[in-house]
Structures are given as structure tokens and as C-alpha cells.
């Protein structure tokens, strides 16, 4: 008696039983359940299409992570500055405020403004103007970093170091961590600036500029927050 296998179209024979070797429906190179070659605009298969979205999501995730780092340290700062020993006066000696920090604050706010201007020009595809304003943003970023360095030099010149008193400890800690994160933003700014100067425009540049600007504005806001926290709180 001959055996006849009837295979209904569409019904797939599934391996059954624990550990059973399947009928190898993948042997013909087709993947079961794979809806055939991907179709539709922007879908080129295999996932190598460009997703601008993922950079935006990733930058927001980074922002949340950095926020948590500074939330932890700022709450430590707030408690430390308000703390008083039971048997005496507070040992908190506030630092004087270096005037260069005002300048720095102005510089970093200005850099956010120039970045926004550059972004508007990019949207209107005025690439020459974009390059001009983007370079200015990167330079202002560098200027901010130099200004922070000057503030540290001024304190060091007066013998105020990381371990001198609680306020100086937190000042150096918070400003240098901010500077470290800002350095990352500066690398991103330089990257999009250099790409722009090479006239490398397109969806990738748009995504890079968008991601960079989210991060840079966040760095700006973070600095303003730290400046207020370190010198105007209490």
C-alpha cells in the first residue's frame, strides 16, 4: 500500500512532541512565518534601514540616566549643606562666587541659542548658514569649558582644593562631572559640525543634529541648575 501525503496549502506540519526533530520546514530556505520579503516604503529588509527614531530615543534615555546621576549628588549636596551637628554650629563654609561663572552661564545659554538658529537653517536647507552657526556653537562650547577651567584655576590659586571643605568638595565634583558630560556633547557637536563643513547632509545628518541638540540643551539646563544650586541655594 502506498502512502500518500496530502499537504493542504497553507497548513504547515509542525514538529510535535518534546524534543522532536522538526520536519525542517526551513530547509527550503524559507522561514516559516516570515511574511515573505519585506515590503513597503523605507523597509529594505534585514533591519539595515536607517531609523532616525532610535537616536532620538537613545538620547532621551541618556538624558534620564544623567539626570539620575545628578539627582543623587544634588540631594546629597542639599542634605549636607543643611546638616548641623547636634553639639555645635554648622561646619558649612560657603565658597565665594567666581565672576567667570556668570560669563560661562551666558556663554552656554548663547550656545543653545546659536544651536537652535543652526537647526532652523538646516530645516530650511540653508547649509552655509547652518555651518556658520553650528561652528559658532561648537566654539562657544569650547569657550564654556575653558571658562570652567579658569574658575577651577582661581580656586586652586587661593588654595581651595577638592578636600578643603564640604562646599569645595561638592563644587569640584559637580562641576567636573558636568564638564565630563559636556565633553561628550562637545564631541557630538564637533561631529555634526565637521560633517556639515564637508557638506554631508541628509537624513543621517538631520538625526545627528537633532540628537546632539537635545543633549546640548540638556547640558545647558543642567549647568544653570547646578549654578543656582551651588551658589544661590540657602
Amino acid at each position: 500500500m502506498s502512502t500518500t501525503t496530502v499537504t493542504r496549502p497553507g497548513a504547515k506540519i509542525r514538529p510535535s512532541g518534546v524534543g522532536a526533530r522538526g520536519n525542517g520546514s526551513h530547509d527550503d530556505g524559507r522561514f516559516p512565518g516570515g511574511g515573505g520579503p519585506p515590503s513597503g516604503p523605507g523597509r529594505s529588509g534585514g533591519g539595515d534601514e536607517f531609523h532616525p527614531e532610535k537616536y532620538r530615543i537613545a538620547v532621551w534615555v541618556i538624558v534620564v540616566g544623567v539626570v539620575m546621576l545628578f539627582v543623587a549628588l544634588s540631594s546629597a549636596y542639599l542634605f549636607r549643606s543643611a546638616w548641623q551637628p547636634l553639639d555645635g554650629p554648622s561646619d558649612w563654609t560657603p565658597l565665594w562666587r567666581p565672576r567667570v561663572l556668570w560669563l560661562n552661564t551666558a556663554i552656554i545659554i548663547a550656545s543653545s541659542v546659536t544651536l537652535e538658529v543652526a537647526r532652523r537653517f538646516l530645516k530650511r536647507e540653508k547649509y552655509l548658514f547652518f555651518n556658520r552657526w553650528m561652528s559658532m556653537t561648537a566654539l562657544l562650547g569650547l569657550g564654556f569649558l575653558a571658562g570652567q577651567f579658569m574658575a577651577w584655576r582661581q580656586f586652586v590659586g587661593q588654595g581651595i582644593y577638592l578636600r578643603t571643605n564640604p562646599h569645595s568638595s561638592y563644587f569640584y565634583l559637580l562641576t567636573s562631572l558636568h564638564a565630563l558630560h559636556l565633553l561628550g556633547g562637545l564631541v557630538a557637536l564637533s561631529y555634526v559640525t565637521v560633517r556639515g563643513l564637508r557638506f554631508n547632509f541628509g537624513v543621517r545628518q538631520d538625526a545627528a543634529v537633532q540628537a546632539t541638540s537635545i543633549y546640548w540643551h540638556f547640558m545647558d539646563a543642567l549647568w544653570v541648575f547646578l549654578f543656582v544650586l551651588l551658589f544661590f541655594w540657602r
Binding site: 497553507g10 497548513a11 509542525r14 514538529p15 510535535s16 518534546v18 524534543g19 522532536a20 526533530r21 522538526g22 520546514s25 526551513h26 530556505g29 522561514f31 516559516p32 512565518g33 516570515g34 511574511g35 515573505g36 520579503p37 519585506p38 523597509r43 529588509g45 534585514g46 533591519g47 539595515d48 536607517f50 531609523h51 527614531e53 532610535k54 530615543i57 537613545a58 534615555v61 541618556i62 534620564v64 540616566g65 544623567v66 539620575m68 546621576l69 539627582v71 543623587a72 549628588l73 546629597a76 542634605f79 549636607r80 546638616w83 551637628p85 561646619d91 577638592l162 578636600r163 564640604p166 568638595s169 565634583l173 562631572l177 543621517r204
Partner: protein
């Protein structure tokens, strides 16, 4: 720049050994790397725990082999209190970070999540590679701490690393100089590695889902990994900040944690002023409590998946399971104070922390009852993976109930820092999470290596481990109620009469727990033998050996380089459609088109 490289990566597998297996960009290879790292770490951590149990069962007895293992830390063949403390610290640190945090998320999550959502890889393959190698570097630094100082094999401050002991440097005692520095650096590196991983997981899950894979069609494992990634993103920066402060105490002589005028080993410290050790506790436990969930939440997702698969029933209350997992994660951020009830806290604050802690019982109970509801009336297939998943539920209950005891401020005053606490967290975050990993290994090894594990050995391994861990940790609770303090290398030495006299009746119980520990550790040989044999010589696995429904089971075992061979699967259904009425077989793959498309199945 990265995109062009990714594009090449998606089309064909790299050829060279180093590109393919060492510095691989493939999420599957990285997942296996994480998983192997965790296996090695688990072996190290388990060995350390066996040595601790040896000391507790035979206090201060001389063992010749100790001279051979620790030629300088145990030169006379006995375990000194300092050596015991360093064994405990390294056991805790390695287990919590490099096993419980690494295997379920970095290992299984990396391997399975992109496949389950129908993606060809993670969103950022390079970042994925970087996060594994950062974690690996962290492990190397942690291992270096073993050899940093004489007399001990690492820091002696416990995995919580409480200052001022951990912040003072060498004057604080053995292990608190170079060893603790390496420990902090390792933890900081681990934080960075985990944050990079979390970034990748969140982006991947939000952005890389395939056609038809709506949020409510995601397997619960994906939801669990996503929640874990969010928890990691919010908590690891806080630990990182604490680690930076602690490192500055050592490197820059600051006083974030060291109070003024501390007397350390008979010496008055004049160069530090006004820090607070409590600050560390707040920062650490703000991380530490979510960390517990980072360890257990992937196990919850996996348990849901495995229970549903082998009960051949849809998971009971799919949406509620998602809400419960988020509720647990969210509440986990508001309970850190319950670790610090005896550190000094306003009674009102303690009450609030206590209440929020008890509220976590609600979503946990929802999950437990949903798991029971899933199994209710089912024709269960008792595979090894299923047994471990049921074991997870059992341990989750017995470990979770004791959490309610400890969450009570008044009870905690007595139970704090006793073996009751050790029993509680070993049950729930230690063993339950590890049962999740075992279930994952039995369940996904056929997919990862294309070979089946031996079921009989798996079942023997389950029963030995399940009975063993209960025999270890149930006595812990009794010892804790008797008042036995944690972290002591000796409770009562019947030979010399040293120790705490009120604990002299505890000897038999301690010995019993130790024997159970030796037995359980020995039982793991069955697992490792089964694992290694099956990886190379086990029977070949089909593409869907468990008749499960999620996307990883529609592709060959092991999956090809870019998972779906350049295709994009289309998803038509929820993840747990078992025993669907009217369906031709007892399960419907997520990729099976809706029955309503064919006219005859409409009723």
C-alpha cells in the same frame, strides 16, 4: 558611520574567529558571552559560599586543603574572621552583580529579546559589544581584588560596602586598602556596562519591533526585560555616584562619608571632617532595592512564559501581568528606607517606608495568583524548565512572605542583620532568580545551541536543588529568630567555648544547613555535566521543540546570523495562544494569520 557597518553586518556573518566569537556584534554571541561570564561567576560565588558554610559547621577547624587554596590568607589552614568576611563580601558582590544582574538580563535578554520582537539585532550592536566588554573588564578587576592584599581575599565590608569602614583605607584593617579600591572600580565599571545595556534594551524594544508586534502582543519576557532596563537606567547612576564619592574618599581624601573626629583602630583621625556614613546608605539602597528587582523581574517574565508554554494555556491576566510588573518596579524606588530602619530614622518616615513596602505585596500577589491561575486545571507537561518555573513560584512565595515580616518596623528592629534577613533575600533574590536562570537554560538551550538537554538529569537536578535550598535557607529563618547575627564567622565554638553563649544550642541547625549547602553545591555537578554534554552531544533540537508560540520558535535552532534571514516576520496574534478553541492544533504561532481570514473557521 556606524550604520554602514551595521548594514554589512546584517547581511553576512563575519568570518574570522575574533570577529565572530570574541568582539562580535551579533546579539546572540554577546548574549552567550554574558551567559558564560555569569556561569563562571556563579561557580566562583558558589565555591566561596561552600567555604563559608565549612567554617560555620566546623568553627576554626584546620583543613589542609585551605593552605593549598589560600597560601597566604589561610596559611595555618583555618579561616580567620577577616578571611571569612572577605569570602562573604566577594560571594555577595559576585553573585549579585555578575550572576543575578548579568545572566537574566545580559544573557537571556540579549539573546532572546531581539528575536522575540522580530528584529535582526539590537538597536546599537557596537554599544552592545562595548557593554559586554565593560562588564567583562569589571569582572577582571573584581578578580584582581582577590589577590590585592595579604590575609584576606578582597574587601571585608560586605557587598553593601558600608563606610566609614570602606572609605578609610588601610588604617581600617585588612582588605580596606587596595582591595576595596579595586572593588569600587569594578562596581563603577559594572554600572557603566549596565547603563549601556539598558540604553540598548529600551531603544530596541521601543523602536525595533516588527510588523504587527504591538505592545500588547509582546511576550511577557520582553516586558520584564524592558522593566528591568528601566530600573537599571534609573538606579545604576545612583550607585555610580556613590561609587565616585567613595573613590574620592580614597584618592582625594575628601569627607563625604567619614564623620569628624573618628577613632579608627585606636587612632584619632583629624584630617577628615563632617561626612555622614548614612549618606552612603541612602545612595546605596536607592540603588540596592531596585537592584533586587533587576535580579528577579526577568525571572518573573521567564516564569510566565514557561508556565504558559507547558500548561498549554494562555497566561492568566496578560495585561494585569504587565501592570503588576511595572507597579513592582515603580514601588521599588520608594522603599529603600526599609533597609535602614535601625540606622536612625524619624518614626513617621519609617512608617511610610514600611507601608509602601507592604504595598508591594499587592502586585506580587497578583502575579502569584495569575501564575497559579495559569496552571489551574491545566494538563501540565512537567519538563525540567517547567519544574524550575514552578519552583520559582514556590520560592517567590516563601521568600516574599518573609519580606512582609521584615517590612514591619518593629519586627525589623529584632530581625535586622540576623540570619532571618540572609534567609529572606537568599530565598527570593538569590535562589528564586537562579531558578529563573535554570528554567531559562533548560527552556532556551535548544534554541541557543540547537541541542536538547537531558530531561531526566534535569528533573533530578531540580529535585536535589529544590529540596537542598529549602534545607539551607529555612533553618536560616529559625536561626535569625534565635538572634544569630549575620556576617559572623563563628556563633559558638563548642570546643573552645568562644562565641555567643545564647546560641550554643544552634550548633546542630548550623551543621544541618551546611550539609544541605554541600549537598546542593554537589548537585550542581549534575547540571554542569548535563549542560556541557548537551551543548556538544545532545540530541538535535527542532525549531520548536516545546511547541511554543513566540517568534524565537519560528526560526531554526540555532538561529542564523541575522535571525530571520533578511525577512521580516509579521505578527498576527498575542504571545500565548494555547488551546485556542477551533484551532487545528493546540497552539497558534504568533505568525499564524488570524483564523477569521479563512471563511470556514468562522462560527
Amino acid at each position: 558611520m556606524a550604520e554602514t557597518a551595521d548594514a554589512i553586518h546584517h547581511h553576512e556573518a563575519p568570518r574570522g574567529f575574533i570577529r565572530k566569537y570574541i568582539f562580535s556584534l551579533d546579539h546572540k554571541v554577546i548574549g552567550i558571552q554574558y551567559w558564560l561570564l555569569a556561569l563562571v561567576a556563579a561557580l566562583v560565588g558558589m565555591t566561596l559560599s561552600v567555604l563559608m558554610r565549612l567554617q560555620l559547621a566546623y568553627p576554626n577547624q584546620e583543613f589542609g586543603f585551605l593552605k593549598w587554596i589560600f597560601p597566604n590568607a589561610a596559611a595555618n589552614g583555618t579561616i580567620s574572621p577577616e578571611l571569612y568576611l572577605s569570602l562573604m563580601t566577594m560571594h555577595g558582590t559576585i553573585m549579585v552583580f555578575f550572576v543575578l544582574t548579568t545572566a537574566p538580563q545580559g544573557g537571556f535578554g540579549n539573546y532572546i529579546l531581539p528575536i522575540q520582537i522580530g528584529a535582526a539585532d539590537m538597536a546599537f550592536p557596537r554599544l552592545n559589544m562595548l557593554s559586554f566588554w565593560t562588564t567583562f573588564l569589571a569582572f577582571v578587576v573584581m578578580v584582581l581584588a582577590f589577590f590585592a592584599e595579604t590575609g584576606v581575599i578582597g574587601p571585608i565590608g560586605g557587598w553593601t560596602g558600608y563606610p566609614p569602614l570602606s572609605a578609610l583605607g588601610e588604617i581600617a584593617g585588612p582588605g580596606e586598602g587596595t582591595a576595596v579600591m579595586l572593588w569600587i572600580i569594578s562596581i563603577a565599571l559594572f554600572c557603566i556596562g549596565s547603563l549601556l545595556g539598558a540604553l540598548n534594551f529600551i531603544t530596541t524594544m521601543l523602536n525595533m519591533r516588527t510588523r504587527g508586534m504591538t505592545l500588547t502582543r509582546l511576550p511577557l519576557t520582553c516586558w520584564a526585560w524592558f522593566t528591568t532596563a528601566v530600573l537599571a537606567l534609573l538606579s545604576f547612576p545612583v550607585l555610580l555616584s556613590a561609587g565616585i564619592l567613595l573613590l574620592l574618599e580614597h584618592l582625594a581624601g575628601t569627607s563625604f562619608f567619614i564623620p569628624a573626629n573618628s577613632i579608627v583602630n585606636g587612632k584619632l583621625l583629624t584630617d577628615r571632617s563632617g561626612g555622614s556614613p548614612i549618606l552612603w546608605q541612602h545612595l546605596f539602597w536607592f540603588f540596592g532595592h531596585p537592584e533586587v528587582y533587576i535580579a528577579i523581574v526577568p525571572g518573573m517574565g521567564l516564569t510566565s512564559q514557561v508556565l504558559s508554554t507547558f500548561a498549554r494555556k494562555p497566561i492568566f491576566g496578560y495585561r494585569v501581568m504587565i501592570y503588576a510588573i511595572f507597579a513592582i518596579g515603580l514601588l521599588g524606588f520608594f522603599v529603600w528606607g526599609h533597609h535602614m530602619f535601625i540606622s536612625g530614622m524619624a518614626p513617621m518616615t519609617a512608617t511610610v517606608f514600611s507601608l509602601v513596602t507592604l504595598v508591594i505585596g499587592v502586585p506580587s500577589a497578583i502575579k502569584t495568583f495569575n501564575w497559579l491561575g495559569t496552571m489551574w486545571g491545566a494538563r501540565i507537561r512537567f519538563t525540567a524548565a517547567m519544574l524550575f518555573a514552578i519552583g520559582f513560584v514556590s520560592l517567590f512565595v516563601s521568600g516574599g512572605i518573609t519580606g512582609l515580616f521584615l517590612g514591619q518596623t518593629s519586627l525589623d528592629l529584632h530581625l535586622h542583620d540576623t540570619y532571618f534577613v540572609a534567609g529572606h533575600f537568599h530565598m527570593i533574590m538569590g535562589v528564586a532568580a537562579i531558578f529563573g536562570m535554570f528554567a531559562g537554560t533548560y527552556y532556551w538551550l535548544p534554541k541557543m545551541f540547537g541541542r536538547m538537554m537531558n530531561e531526566t538529569l534535569g528533573k533530578i537536578h531540580f529535585w536535589c536543588t529544590f529540596i537542598g535550598v529549602n534545607c539551607i535557607f529555612i533553618p536560616f529563618h529559625i536561626m535569625g529568630i534565635m538572634g544569630a547575627p549575620r556576617r559572623y564567622s563563628l556563633h559558638w565554638n563548642p570546643v573552645t567555648g568562644e562565641g555567643l553563649q545564647y546560641l550554643q544550642t544552634m550548633g546542630p541547625l548550623t551543621k544541618f544547613a551546611s550539609y544541605a549547602a554541600f549537598f546542593t553545591a554537589a548537585a550542581q555537578i549534575i547540571f554542569f555535566a548535563n549542560l556541557i554534554y548537551s551543548m556538544f552531544k545532545g540530541p538535535k533540537a527542532s525549531e520548536n521543540p516545546w511547541e511554543a508560540t513566540t517568534l524565537e520558535w519560528v526560526i531554526p535552532s540555532p538561529p542564523p546570523h541575522d535571525n530571520f534571514g533578511g525577512h521580516e516576520p509579521t505578527v498576527y496574534r498575542g504571545p500565548y495562544e494555547y488551546s485556542v478553541p477551533g484551532a487545528p492544533k493546540d497552539y497558534c504561532m504568533q505568525t499564524d494569520p488570524e483564523p477569521s481570514e479563512s471563511p470556514e473557521s468562522e462560527h
